[in-house]
Symmetry: C2
Subunit: 241 residues, 2 copies
């Protein structure tokens, strides 16, 4: 069971369709599919919203709209409110990253709402009071106002990365085994002397430098084969010069 | 010295001013201020860009524009390319989170460019070849195309959180000391018997339940004082009923 399928993004009192469209795209990027607009207060038509959703229009089309916030979250096992404001009733906030594992665990039990407020006013105290968890996105104190769809993105991103499914591409070539690296060093040194880059007496000094160059991070079999090819070709070129 | 001041966001061949404006806002949210447009290829005027920058117009106004990618990064000590595409020359990618500490360390040494490509085509192989590091944002395989400004946001967010400066608000009330909690439990039990909620013989059974309720996460002095007030008032109400 994929807990992300139980994550419901709830946008309360949204003003601009463009933000909804961008939020759909962000959700698609991060494996979320359930969108609810609670008491939307849209000031413009859906042309901008559809344009900014790009290929995530299925999320947009499949959205639910409810007249109230309560209806949007009534069946949820947890209601995670997002807030930028401080205040007496918003002190018990955590970061999205700190909350992510718990939210995913709850999502295995039933629908979990992640709630975002109005572009200009956020969530009201009454809506905050209905939240079981509060999160605040870390942001520079010089500019704390985050665009709605960007807040959706960051929260979704933390859930997606906490789930830990994505596969980063592996390099196809494995790391070069020690013997191959030492063979390369030997051939490299021979090449450097042959082309006159260095004299025998300087060998250890310069080879220390090349050991260092070839030790920056992972050095793969392909890397070693490439450098070996250079050494061979340089020797050939000198002998046929 | 703040390493974020040495982070330079470089947008290559950008098509839409709206993306630049949104990127400025994302940068401001995450404490970055240096923007360079390398060989911009803008298809619309700055009206949308300025509108989407909202209050981050200073970053927009202070941007540099260069004719080529090379000029934008010439003085950098590291050039971090972002890529969504796979391919033979893009295998050695890491996530932004994995790279963040190293990028910040390099930024203490000099300017570090974080490079984003064209909305439709990303970065070319030639540009990738000039990068000292490559990052790829984790994304659902069903929808790998991330909006440019959202890619800027996530990368900036990982740098900002890696720097670890932001202060989450602390609850003003400290956790309730053990003695206060036990006093509350005693008063609570007394209240429950007084109002007829339970009989003495059931006391231990029900009190286990309330111990559990008051043990969900941190229970502060304010929380304890609140519940104590309820207990006192309920007893008063019964006695004056």
């Amino acid at each position: 069971m994929n807990p992300l399928d139980n994550i419901r993004v709830v946008l309360v009192g949204t003003l601009y369709t463009g933000n909804v469209g961008s939020a759909c795209r962000a959700m698609a990027n991060m494996g979320l599919h359930n969108l609810v607009l609670a008491a939307p207060n849209l000031q413009n038509d859906w042309e901008e919203g559809e344009r900014l959703a790009v290929h995530a229009t299925d999320i947009l089309k499949n959205r639910r709209e409810t007249a109230t916030f309560e209806e949007a979250v009534a069946d949820c096992v947890a209601v995670v409110g997002t807030t930028a404001r401080s205040g007496l009733y918003r002190q018990h906030v955590r970061t999205p990253r700190e909350s992510a594992d718990e939210i995913l665990a709850l999502a295995a039990e039933g629908p979990v709402a992640i709630v975002f407020g109005r572009e200009d006013k956020g969530l009201t105290n009454e809506e905050i009071a209905q939240c079981t968890h509060l999160v605040r996105i870390p942001v520079d104190e010089g500019y704390t106002s985050i665009n709605l769809s960007q807040a959706v993105l960051i929260t979704a991103y933390e859930l997606f990365t906490a789930k830990g499914d994505y596969q980063m591409p592996h390099e196809k070539a494995p790391p070069a085994p020690q013997a191959q690296k030492m063979q390369l060093m030997k051939n490299w040194a021979e090449m450097l002397e042959t082309i006159g880059f260095m004299e025998s007496v300087q060998r250890e000094h310069f080879m220390q430098g090349f050991h260092r160059v070839f030790s920056r991070g992972v050095f793969t079999k392909d890397d070693a084969a490439l450098m070996l090819g250079v050494a061979r070709q340089a020797i050939w070129a000198k002998n046929h010069g």
